[in-house]
């Protein structure tokens, strides 16, 4: 019996010893213990970038493209249809994706700015990483202000319950933050040529200055816009790729960074398939579903073809000054190899109906093609945010606005873009011609607007151009195009229900989730019209 009593005492006693209640963490680590070495710092800045690719992959790019007047959507359902029909509302998922990913980037950039300074590491690398964090924060606020107007400003990482609820700041304050961050970034980051190869694709001094130029332009701060555009041009880091077509050759993507200044990085992902992969998705949306050999679709390399261009815009890019423009040839997909078992060598055609063999009423975009994609939502194609051609056009536009009319410098910058457009690979074309030297300020501005439309089709600039630039009547181009110009066109040149003007669409709605949860932003603070 005594033995049993001893056994009891022992078990009870061991029970008491094990009574320690400290929480042991095995598979997670907290910020206070993570940031120790240079590798940790790199992981942290890479983490801040990590939200940009998913933001643009499907939702962000769809929100930008379908909000404009050139791109249309071929189905009646889905978030894309809602956006294309210009009736997005605070519950539209894709708008929320932009909002929450932007703030995720900002919060993680703030973590970098808080913790990386204390890491004992190479000061140059540290500076570079901190510069990138400023860049990401500034760039995100630039996106946010263009989409949503004044938004809450967060310059500290969220680590406790203080300041969870921030009101919307004024648009002016946001721009102040943007300029501030991007200037710091531009000071701290190296030029593209000095960037370590292992960091290729991340932001550089040139990227910061380019976004600064665009931000100042958007803010109508013409002198600053011109100054930063000039700094990028004069840095000698970037130049136009001689052949516009080559820019869209995914096999030469790395070399195209002579022109590409900053782009959202996508790589073919052999670990994860489809939407969650770090590969690009836009290819799948641009290529028609009858095509063969254009995408990574396992069966036949086709896409969904949900991204289409209104016929009026095709006409616009291929007539007048742009008649025979090489860029239209490289930007539009109107003839494609068809996936058809019965006719293995067959082709399909869309608008324009040149050969009387048209099978589809809308043309497609040809800029994003990657037959080597690992699956149909997993391609190599980077999404260009800003490239040297745009810097030239920013300079031209800033000069024009600054001097109340185009200067020779403005013409020179503008015509550099046109001159490249005439270089059709192995031949030099005569169109588009250099700009006539007698344009008024309004005419020159219109020319820039037009040029940007042709040059950047499918690159996500059009919606912002429409909102930013003014028609000679003084209205925004957005209101002019949707409300006045496009309604005059015949019905077969457009999908009219996608071109309905509503003044509220000058801004996207603040997502419902933010309004529901943020005690400092109520329905009364929503953007007008939502």
């Amino acid at each position: 019996m005594k033995r049993i009593l001893i056994l009891f005492l022992v078990t009870s006693f061991t029970g008491f010893i094990s009574c320690e209640l400290k929480e042991e963490l095995f598979d997670t680590i907290g910020p206070e213990t993570f940031y120790k070495t240079e590798r940790d710092a790199q992981a942290a800045i890479n983490g801040a970038y990590a939200f940009i690719a998913p933001m643009y992959k499907r939702d962000g790019i769809a929100a930008i493209l379908y909000s404009a007047d050139d791109i249309t959507y071929n189905s009646k359902s889905g978030n894309e249809a809602i956006i294309a029909e210009k009736r997005g509302d605070p519950s539209t998922l894709y708008f929320k994706t932009i909002w929450d990913n932007s703030y995720a980037v900002i919060n993680n950039a703030n973590l970098v700015l808080k913790y990386v300074p204390n890491i004992d590491m190479d000061p140059n690398t540290k500076n570079r990483i901190l510069g990138e964090a400023y860049f990401l924060r500034g760039y995100m606020y630039f996106n946010l202000v263009r989409f949503f107007g004044g938004v809450p400003i967060k310059t500290k990482s969220t680590e406790d319950t203080d300041n969870l609820h921030q009101p919307r700041s004024s648009v002016e304050d946001i721009y102040k933050q943007i300029f501030d961050d991007l200037k710091k970034a531009s000071d701290m980051m190296p030029e593209f040529s000095e960037q370590p190869e292992s960091e290729f694709g991340r932001a550089t001094k040139g990227a910061a200055k380019s976004i600064l130029a665009l931000a100042y332009l958007t803010h109508e701060d013409w002198a600053q816009a011109k100054q930063y555009a000039d700094e990028v041009i004069n840095s000698g880091e970037y130049s136009l790729v001689t052949d516009f077509g080559r820019l869209w050759d995914v096999k030469q993507e790395r070399q195209n960074y002579q022109e590409i200044i900053f782009a959202v990085q996508y790589v073919r992902d052999n670990l994860v398939s489809f939407l969650p992969s770090v590969g690009s998705d836009i290819v799948y949306r641009c290529i028609p579903n009858t095509a063969e050999g254009y995408t990574g679709h396992p069966a036949h390399g086709s896409g969904t073809g949900v991204l289409q261009v209104h016929p009026w815009f095709y006409d616009f890019c291929t007539t007048g000054q742009y008649l025979g423009d090489y860029r239209a040839e490289k930007s539009f997909l109107t003839v494609w190899k068809a996936w058809d078992e019965a006719d293995p060598d067959g082709y399909k055609r869309s608008y324009p109906d040149t050969l009387g063999a048209q099978t589809e009423p809308f043309p497609y975009i040809a800029k994003y093609i990657d037959p080597d994609g690992l699956d149909h939502r997993n391609h190599e194609n980077d999404l260009i945010i800003i490239r040297f051609a745009e810097i030239l056009l920013i300079k031209a536009e800033a000069e024009n606005e600054l001097n109340n009319g185009p200067t020779p410098e403005a013409y020179a910058a503008f015509n550099q873009v046109r001159s490249r457009a005439r270089n059709a690979g192995d031949s030099i074309r005569i169109t588009p011609p250099d700009l006539a030297l007698s344009l008024s300020k309004e005419e020159f501005r219109q020319a820039i607007f037009n040029e940007r439309g042709v040059e950047f089709l499918g690159e996500g600039h059009r919606y912002f151009d429409l909102l930013r630039m003014k028609h000679s009547s003084g209205k925004t181009m957005y209101e002019y195009m949707l409300n006045e110009y496009l309604p005059t066109l015949p019905d077969d040149k457009k999908r009219a229900e996608h071109l309905i003007y509503n003044s509220r669409n000058h801004l996207l709605p603040i997502p419902l989730e933010e309004i529901q949860t943020n005690s400092a932003i109520g329905n009364e603070n929503q953007n007008p019209g939502y």
Binding site: E23, I29, G30, A50, L93, T161, S273, N523
Partner: protein, 1088 residues
């Protein structure tokens, strides 16, 4: 010695017989005796040896005592026969008869007769015991025939109830505890132990998540306390508390979103292993489980060797067999192919658009007319085999159960298979010490078909898909193979036939215990238990399916959960001076959990042959995801139950719990409770009132807690996220959780007032409780502004109140040849959010978001309303003409559009016009059981119902929305035929539209339906065949049962007993939920 034996032979007439190998005759012994009996002399001679003797006539046989025991008994025994009957002379079968102070016993046969061999001692006493009757001890004397009448005990009062860390006579209870009548379940199709709870006890609300084999039930006791933390009760199996996360199957975020699954611990538990189920409801009963008691406690005790009526069981083997067939009670009528195309054309023409189909297309496409419901449903069938061995005597107690169940659901390929074994063994040593083990192991594997998809990917949900999928789509290709087109969503047929989603859960459970009696009534008990749960989820989407289009896609998740428990208690059970009765326990308990899982995904296989079995054959495979957590709970417990003169009962309970999951400084909490009960019927002044045999008033108050949140929520964490640098994929680290270092317990205070009444010798007993539960510091995953970079964090805010009534009754209406017992339960409660702190409201998730069909929450928790109330727009009919439009808040509407109430009167319908549209909480629920018995026949009828709850029939959102712009959704015939076609034609269904605005994309009260139902849950008829002639076969019962035979309801969906999600905040949505099948069963129970 040799000399002594010789001397005895000389001096007496006896002589000895013995074997010299066994009896040592060389031993030296000194004795001196005169005038003594031979027994006394021999006892002295062999004192201190193991030699015994038997005197037969003049011979004395000497041998070792163990060889002589039987001989001695036979020589001196005689047989006693008799008949045991009740007061009115009706024979009582199964009465146990034990010879006092021995292990010898028997039980009476079907006619109440018994025979027992006893030693022929004048002092022999037989003990007759039978549950429900007073135990009798009768001296045998010289009788050989002993007929006994047994007097009934006050029914049920002496029943012993298992409560936490001990047991108590029911009459000594001061808290609110209900027991489930397990015996009723023997002839109804119960596949898992959780199904035994439904409708059986008051205050327990069981919602079938769906009718799929192997899916668990949602059990709520006395209303939900919490918004985000679990509302599940604590399950305690043989004293071992089970953590709800132990049945966790990780899910995946994918093309099609596959939800995680958490099975309640009873969902895989063989119901035949259950001996009793007790539900602890009030704070006094649950406080002993402290931090986990707030949602109530379900105590499961597994089988022992004792039979139901007796502590002695000479050994019984039972074989039970049951087979079922089941089918879908109804279909929902959808449009045929031709009608579907005509409907879409009509919609487009009305909107002045080109119709999508030409007449020629309508004619040619309507050749295909697929009824997807026909293709996915089948007649289900199942079988169940159980082999049970029980045996008990004074010292040992053994129960062995082996079971096999196989179940095929009414959806093709949905199935479940379970193997289980259990061994419960207990052994006593010398009255002071007993030890034993309860061991069980089981393996349950099931194929789940994806039923519900809240993301709105219609193809991934088979039940919603069978409604939505257009009839013009082909099920099979021209070669008879299932038609697959990876560019469109999978047809429901593909989902049931080709997609595999297989779950396996293996449970191993062992509780080892020892109990030592220090003093009479004072015992020390130590228990050591381990529980292993291994879960495996394997999925395969073959190539050609939507998810598997890239050469097939496989997913596998292995979960390892381990829990270790140590309980050490000192129990005191003493009666002092016959009127102080003390039942007390103090102890220390410690439990910890380790949970591990790894999941892998691979795609692009060479072919589909090896499905999910061979990841090496994949071209692409993801990084595995791994997860490890450890958490622990240390507690001190104490309870004292003191009954004074059996009239005044006081209980004080307390538990101190420390948890690893909570913030520093908030880890420990104390959960006290107290209760008082007064048995008025025991008072002398009550004696004249003969009709009332029992009257007890109970009252209790106490606090309990809830800590069931995911671990590590007190810490901010970083997580890995893929990024790109240098043209390569790299790993970035980003903010993961937003931790809250101040996280503490959710605390529930509960007041309970109860009344137990027994009438007419307790032939009618009623138990009634009123309770108020107040939960504060709610553990909420509080959404925070997305601009923080996070979407939510765990915090303690707010307050919820539940109050209501529970009623149970049992009436023995007839107990003669025809027996009739009615019993039932009735409960009601109201749930209300009293406070939400800084939050204005907590919303549910957005439903149907990825397909952008809805993208809004359906639920809200707001002050003054029930948690998870439905939140949407008030429907105000259909605009009949332009005038109505012009005078409305919807200036852009057209006649035929839905009109909503502009609640805030601002002239527009905005999100601010949303209001509460109902909730899932019934006005009351009830269960009514009828048991009729006559000559071996037993008829059991169980009716169960829920009145006054609402359901969001979210299937209708798509199929009644009449938005022909969505080409992949068919519509219901009812909506189509009742559509608005002009002024005065309809005020409920709108006009056809060529866009995709289902119900104007607003949840409104047309979709919120009354979910009341009354259901004939079970009717079973069993017959006990009398087998007097057969020795080898003791009992044979045969039965047939029909389940879910009749349902009275106005609900228009498949089944009102539904919930697509089990989260407390999002109840009551019918979105592709597996309906309850109608089941016919046949079975037999054989006893050997």
């Amino acid at each position: 010695m040799e000399e002594i034996l010789k001397e005895i032979e000389n001096q007496s007439e006896y002589y000895f017989l013995f074997n010299q190998k066994l009896v040592d005759i060389t031993r030296k012994v000194n004795i001196q005796v005169t005038d003594k009996q031979i027994d006394e002399i021999l006892a002295e001679v062999f004192n201190g040896t193991n030699v015994d003797y038997v005197i037969i006539d003049r011979q004395i046989v000497l041998s070792m005592s163990e060889y002589l025991a039987d001989v001695k008994t036979k020589l001196h025994s005689r047989s006693i026969k008799g008949k045991v009957s009740d007061e009115s002379g009706v024979p009582l079968p199964g009465v146990s008869i034990l010879l006092k102070s021995t292990t010898r016993g028997t039980i009476t046969n079907l006619d109440g007769e018994y025979t027992i061999e006893i030693e022929d001692l004048p002092s022999a006493v037989l003990i007759f015991s039978f549950v429900g009757y007073l135990t009798r001890e009768i001296p045998v004397g010289n009788q050989t025939i002993l007929n006994v009448n047994m007097a009934p005990d006050l029914i049920g009062l002496e029943e012993v109830i298992v409560i936490g860390y001990g047991s108590l006579r029911k009459s000594d209870l001061s808290g609110s505890v209900s027991s489930v009548d397990i015996e009723d379940m023997s002839s109804i199709p119960v596949f898992s132990a959780d199904q035994m709870l439904q409708g059986q006890v008051s205050g327990v609300h069981v919602t079938t998540q769906n009718g799929a084999p192997g899916s668990g039930l949602i059990v709520t006791i006395r209303g939900g306390n919490s918004i985000n933390a679990s509302n599940q009760p604590l399950y305690v199996i043989d004293g071992f508390p089970i953590d709800p996360s132990e049945g966790f199957f990780p899910g995946i975020e994918y093309q099609a979103h596959i939800e995680e699954k958490n099975l309640n611990p009873l969902a895989t538990f063989n119901p035949n292993e259950v001996e009793s189920i007790e539900i602890l409801k009030d704070a006094s009963s649950t406080a002993i489980y402290g931090s986990r008691g707030a949602n109530g406690v379900v105590m499961i005790t597994t089988k022992t060797g004792k039979t139901k009526s007796s502590i002695i069981n000479p050994g019984k083997v039972e074989y039970k067999f049951r087979t079922d067939i089941s089918n879908l009670p109804k279909q929902i009528e959808m449009l045929s192919s031709r009608e579907f195309m005509e409907y879409r054309n009509e919609a487009y023409i009305l909107d002045g658009k080109l119709p999508p189909y030409t007449q020629a297309e309508v004619d040619s496409f309507s050749v295909v007319n697929t009824n997807w419901q026909d293709l996915i449903y089948q007649t289900g069938h199942s079988q169940d085999h159980q082999l049970i061995f029980t045996n008990a005597d004074d010292l040992t107690n053994i129960a062995l159960v082996g079971g096999y169940t196989s179940q095929h659901g009414i959806i093709k390929n949905s199935k479940l298979e379970r193997y289980s074994i259990r061994a419960n063994i207990l052994r006593k040593f010398k009255n002071k010490f007993e030890t034993g083990v309860n061991f069980s192991a089981s393996r349950t594997s099931s194929r789940m078909v994806l039923q519900s998809s809240t993301s709105g990917r219609t193809g991934s949900s088979v039940i919603a898909g069978a409604l939505y999928f257009p009839p013009i789509n082909l099920p099979y290709d021209e070669y008879g193979k299932i038609f697959k087109d990876p560019d469109i969503l999978d047809s429901p047929l593909i989902v049931v036939e080709e997609v595999k989603d297989d779950y396996t859960i293996q449970n191993m459970f062992a509780v080892l215990f020892g109990e030592y009696t220090i003093l009479p009534g004072v015992t020390l008990k130590a228990e050591l238990g381990t529980h292993n749960t291994n879960t495996l989820r394997q999925m395969y989407y073959p190539s050609g399916t939507y998810v598997g289009q890239n050469g097939g896609s496989a997913y596998r998740a292995d979960g390892w959960n381990y829990s270790l428990l140590s309980n050490n208690t000192l129990n005191i059970n003493k009666t002092i001076h016959s009127f102080h009765k003390i039942n007390a326990v103090v102890g220390y308990t410690h439990q910890w959990w380790i949970s591990n899982y790894i999941s892998n995904r691979a795609s692009n296989f060479i072919n589909d042959n090896l499905t999910y079995y061979y990841f090496q054959g994949a071209e692409n495979s993801e990084k595995p995801r791994t997860h490890t957590t450890k958490s622990g709970l240390a507690s001190f417990i104490g309870r004292i139950n003191y009954a004074l003169m059996d009239k005044y009962i006081f209980t004080i309970t307390g538990r101190a719990d420390g948890s690893t999951r909570l913030g520093e400084g908030n880890k420990w909490a104390y959960f006290p409770s107290g209760a008082f009960a007064w048995r008025i019927s025991e008072e002398p002044f009550f004696d004249p009132i003969k009709q009332i045999s029992n009257l007890k008033i109970r009252t209790s108050y106490g606090q309990t807690g809830n800590q069931s949140i995911p671990p590590y929520r007190t810490k901010s964490t970083l997580v890995a996220k893929p990024s790109i640098s240098g043209g390569q994929q790299v790993t970035g680290f980003v903010a993961g959780n937003f931790g809250n270092p101040d996280l503490k317990w959710e605390v529930t205070s509960q007041i309970d007032v109860g009344l137990d009444i027994g009438l007419l010798n307790n032939r009618l007993s009623v138990s009634f409780d009123y309770f108020i539960k107040n939960t504060r510091d709610l553990l909420i995953s509080l959404p925070i502004p997305l601009s923080t970079g996070f979407s939510s964090y765990w915090t303690n805010i707010g307050e919820i109140e539940n109050k209501g009534f529970d009623l149970e009754f049992n009436a023995n209406i007839l107990s003669r040849k025809l027996g009739w017992v009615i019993s039932g339960s009735w409960s009601t409660y109201k749930n209300k959010v009293l406070d939400l702190g800084t939050a204005e409201a907590v919303y549910g998730n957005n439903w149907y978001s990825s397909a952008a069909l809805f993208s809004q929450p359906l639920h809200i928790a707001m002050v003054g309303e029930a948690v998870g109330s439905y939140y949407g727009y008030k429907f105000d009919g259909i605009f009949q003409n332009e005038d109505e439009v012009n005078n409305s808040s919807q200036p852009y509407a057209r006649p035929g559009d839905y009109r909503f109430v502009d609640l805030n009167g601002d002239g527009a319908i905005t999100a601010d016009d949303r209001t509460i549209l109902g909730n899932n909480i019934p006005d009351f629920i009830f269960g009514l059981r009828n048991n009729l018995s006559w000559r071996g026949f037993n008829l059991y009828i169980f009716i169960q119902g829920s009145i006054g709850n609402e359901i969001i029939n979210f299937n209708r959102y798509a199929i009644d929305g009449l938005a022909a712009g969505i080409e992949y959704i068919n519509v219901s015939r009812k909506a189509y035929e009742n559509r608005w076609t002009g002024e005065g034609t309809s005020n409920t269904y709108g006009h056809l539209r060529s866009d995709n605005l289902l119900f104007d994309r607003k949840l409104n009260d047309i979709l919120v339906e009354d979910g009341s139902y009354i259901r004939l849950k079970n009717v079973s008829l069993s017959y006990n065949i009398q087998l007097k002639k057969l020795n080898w076969l003791k009992t044979l019962d045969v039965f047939i049962n029909g389940a879910n035979l009749l349902t009275l309801t106005d609900y228009t969906g498949y089944d009102p007993e539904v919930s697509a999600k089990e989260t407390p905040l999002e109840p009551g949505v019918d979105l592709g939920v597996f309906p309850q099948p109608r089941i016919w069963s046949f079975g037999l129970n054989i006893g050997f």
